[in-house]
């Protein structure tokens, strides 16, 4: 029922140049200031007397991580208009990839008498490369299969469906034979009747095996790489490898998933991304090295080594806000670049966009992959900050929380998202600590209200979401783009 919007034209005819970098000077300045304030916020040594406690320091860090996640989702959901409900999945990929790389391969055994293990960026890098190669190759194979099935449609319109029925029949036959104890058709061991699954597993195993030489974190190659980096830079470079590894893994998965699913529109895409993120979670839940449901403890030495009182933030604060800044800048620049305008065109009207020569799929996939990459970065940051993760943390509720931030901030509005993210992340701790900031002259029932509101925070979120759609479908906090042509539906 979306009516083709007449707003497309002004978008297209606007001069196609980058907005000047200084047009949004306040973003880098604001975040730069925050980074400068880092030592003040945490620990308080340089500025004696002013001391933020660790509770608020933690909230500050969570805001930074949420900023990365929400703004990257804004790129997919708001700017490109591809409604994704699976951001937590990409976050999980980034978190587990980054965390595992550092924990299993980024640490070399401590040398004599030294309790802190040496950073081993070389090992982490090799691991990341190996995994990325395996993912990329298996992804390509999967995509090839998918294309092949799609191509069947050229032979006969019913081709793909026929193929699916054949596949089903094959499985059924397998089951029959298995129950008679004959073994699988697929030629696998009799214990596994599904030849198809055997085949897939075998392929991935073979690919994996051919890259195992990369996996050894104590190999000469890893040592060579590590030794070529000065000792003082090993910690940050391990962290960089882990962050980029997490981001890239998420991006590759985003690509493999996005290429086919982005053909779907609107609500179908939302459901497909939801399905993919649940699949990712199921896979992690079943993965022994990733700790299954018990969770995975990340060795956070990469970030904590310098904090004598055991807090991570002094060292980590600039990292978190650096990545948040990077994300905001990237998304902001994309939005105001020719590509970004093409994306917004697509969001308004796909037919019109393709008619004027915009590469529909290419642009969508670009936005999706960049969004996934940034979500992976955010996930990896999260993994190193908390040092513990569990598949339950990346469930649908997490995705929806991010969607709430993006929607309340206004689909297509980056400043709105930043503010919404800030407010929503601050909401809970503020309500939680109401006993401390509530002035004493306030009647006692105000405290009951805040504690009630805290308990049913999610109900409030839900109300805000519905009301936002009913009253201001551009979002509560979307101030900038009110006068501009933006979302369809406000027409």
């Amino acid at each position: 029922m979306s009516t083709p919007s007449s707003d497309v034209l002004p978008l297209l005819t606007r001069p196609s140049r980058f907005a000047p970098l200084w047009a949004n000077w306040w973003i880098p300045v604001a975040i730069g200031l925050l980074i400068l304030l880092a030592p003040w916020i945490e620990g308080g040594t340089p500025y004696a007397g002013v001391h933020w406690d660790k509770f608020w320091a933690r909230i500050t860090m969570l805001i930074g991580i949420n900023l990365t996640l929400a703004v990257s989702l804004q790129l997919i959901n708001g700017i490109a208009g591809q409604f994704s409900l699976g951001h937590a999945g990409f976050m999980a990929v980034g978190a587990y990839m980054g965390g595992y790389a550092v924990t299993a391969h980024g640490a070399a055994a401590p040398t004599d008498g030294d309790a802190v293990p040496w950073m081993n960026p070389g090992g982490a890098l090799l691991f990341v490369l190996a995994v990325l190669l395996v993912t990329a190759v298996s992804g390509l194979i999967a995509y090839g299969l998918y294309r092949a099935v799609r191509l069947l449609a050229r032979l006969h319109p019913k081709g793909p469906v026929a193929f699916m029925w054949l596949l089903l029949a094959w499985l059924a036959l397998d089951v029959m034979l298995k129950t008679k104890g004959v073994g699988g058709v697929g030629g696998g061991p009799a214990s596994n009747p599904l030849g198809a699954i055997n085949l897939l597993g075998l392929t991935i195993k073979t690919i994996g095996a051919s890259f195992t030489f990369l996996l050894d974190h104590s190999s000469p190659l890893a040592a060579l790489l590590t030794n070529s980096i000065p000792a003082s830079l090993r910690k940050p470079s391990t962290l960089i490898v882990s962050l980029l590894g997490g981001g890239t893994a998420a991006a590759i998965i985003g690509f493999v998933v996005g290429l086919p699913t982005l053909r779907l529109r609107g609500d179908y895409l939302a459901i497909a991304t939801l399905g993919v993120s649940e699949l990712i979670r199921t896979a992690i839940t079943n993965s022994e090295p990733l700790g299954r449901a018990t969770g995975f403890s990340v060795s956070t030495f990469a970030v904590e080594a310098d904090a004598s009182d055991g807090t991570l933030a002094t060292y980590y604060f600039p990292w978190v806000y650096g990545v948040a800044l990077l994300t905001i800048l990237i998304v902001w620049r994309i939005q105001h670049s020719p590509k970004g305008r093409a994306l917004q065109c697509l969001r308004e009207d796909e037919i019109a966009s393709s008619a004027v020569g915009i590469d529909v799929t290419g642009h969508k996939v670009m936005a999706f992959v960049i969004g996934a990459f940034l979500a992976g970065l955010g996930g990896s940051l999260f993994a190193h900050y908390d040092g513990y993760m569990n598949p339950k943390q990346f469930d649908m509720q997490r995705s929806i929380e991010l969607v709430v931030m993006v929607t309340l901030g206004g689909l297509g509005s980056v400043p709105g998202t930043i503010i919404a993210c800030l407010l929503l992340t601050l909401l809970q701790p503020t309500l939680q600590t109401s006993e401390q900031w509530m002035p004493h002259w306030m009647p006692h029932w105000t405290l009951s209200i805040t504690s009630f509101a805290n308990q049913y925070r999610l109900v409030i979120y839900a109300m805000l979401l519905i009301l936002a759609m009913l009253a201001r479908s551009r979002g509560w906090l979307n101030f900038r783009s009110r006068g501009q042509a933006t979302l369809a539906g406000t027409t």
């Binding site: 660790k54 509770f55 933690r58 299954r292 449901a293 018990t294 908390d386 513990y388 943390q393």
Partner: protein, 369 residues
């Protein structure tokens, strides 16, 4: 409000008051509050009153970390109680360890929890004790002395269940038994018949179902429907009063290990049950309630023995705990900061009364470490 000086002694408790394991968190908190009332009623500790501040973790690890940060930095607690679930304890324990606040978990049974550091303790037995006890029980006592074929049916989304599954399988193999089926379900599932049907085909002598009561009740009901008559065995996650109703009586004759037996005649248990019922409108305390109660008492005892509320002193006192008389049995803290305490095996008896089912936990045996 602040913890220093002569004011109240502030103790923090982070618990899942909402979310998927809300029932356990609420029980533990009620138990702990009962203990606080009793302590303050008898003059407090070190001449000061105890104030318990509870924060909700929403059954999520990252919220547990936030809650603990809040308790330590905002409420300035001197000691920490919590969490029930091991994954939340694992997430929050490093914070307590670094802040040098002694943390006592009432019911996290995963061995990893206390390995986080020397400020982390627990007031319950660990999975590596609970699992083997039930494995021994399965091999010896169920279906006569020849229970050799055992099936495992665990919750793949639950760390508690995963841990118990592993130690159980290891112990059964060590004793020469055979695991004939190893199936799983997911937290929140309602249909288990496909898995049970597969298990049934392997003819086990007993089925090990380490899960939470909500799923266990449905599993028991569906197992009986499919004609599985062998007993189900489980751990302390079974403890709830809705087992018989939700399983339509199917739970009858199953066994589980628990922290205490409510039909225990010892005066400590009976006193606890009666005061708990009086305070909470006749609600029958479950194991989490008695563990919360014991944890609070143990912490207060440690503070008393330490003579002050300094984190290190309290930690040292906790570590030296020996034969502390808790309501759910004597607690001795071992060198790994785990509680050495007896485990009881209970048998569920479900009786049909009119249109409803009534259940009772019947004491079977006590195993001491």
């Amino acid at each position: 409000m602040k913890g220093g000086g002569g004011g109240d002694i502030v103790i923090g408790h982070y618990a899942s008051l909402t979310g998927s394991t809300a029932v356990f968190g609420i029980s533990a908190d009620e138990g702990a509050r009962l203990a606080v009332d009793e302590l303050n009623g008898s003059g407090g500790v070190l001449g000061r009153k105890i104030k318990l501040v509870t924060e909700d973790t929403q059954s999520k690890p990252e919220e547990a970390v936030t809650a603990v940060q809040k308790l330590i930095n905002q409420d300035k607690v001197v000691a920490m109680l919590g969490e029930i679930a091991s994954n939340r304890s694992l997430a929050a324990a490093p914070i307590c360890q670094k802040a040098k606040i002694p943390m006592l978990s009432p019911a996290s049974t995963n061995p990893k929890v206390t390995k986080v550091g020397n400020y982390i303790f627990r007031a319950c037995f660990i999975d590596t004790f609970q699992g083997p006890v039930m494995a021994d029980f399965a091999m010896k006592s169920v279906n006569g002395p020849h229970a050799r074929k055992l099936a495992v049916f665990y919750d793949v989304k639950n760390d508690y269940s995963l841990g118990l599954r592993e130690v159980f399988i290891a112990r059964v193999k060590e004793l020469g038994g055979e695991i004939v089926a190893d199936e799983s379900f997911g937290e929140g599932d309602v249909d288990f018949r496909a898995q049970l049907n597969k298990i049934k085909a392997t003819n086990p002598d007993a089925i090990w179902v380490p899960g939470y009561y909500q799923e266990v009740a449905l599993i028991a009901g569906q197992a009986r429907q499919l004609g599985i008559t062998v007993p189900l065995l489980g751990g302390d996650g079974w403890d709830a009063d809705s087992l018989a109703k939700s399983s339509a009586g199917g739970i009858d004759g199953c066994f589980f290990s628990n922290h205490y037996a409510s039909d225990d005649k010892s005066p400590a248990v009976q006193k606890f049950i009666s005061t708990y019922k009086a305070k909470y409108n006749g609600k029958l305390p479950d194991a989490m309630a008695i563990l919360g109660y014991d944890s609070m008492l143990l912490m207060a005892d440690a503070i008393k023995r330490a003579g002050n509320t300094d984190g290190k002193a309290v930690r040292d006192a906790l570590a030296k705990t020996k034969d502390f008389a808790g309501a759910a049995g004597n607690i001795t803290i071992d060198k790994d900061r785990n509680a050495q305490k007896p485990i009881v095996v209970l048998r569920v008896v479900a009786k049909k009364v009119g249109d409803n089912f009534e259940q009772k936990f019947q004491y079977v045996e006590t195993v001491t470490p």
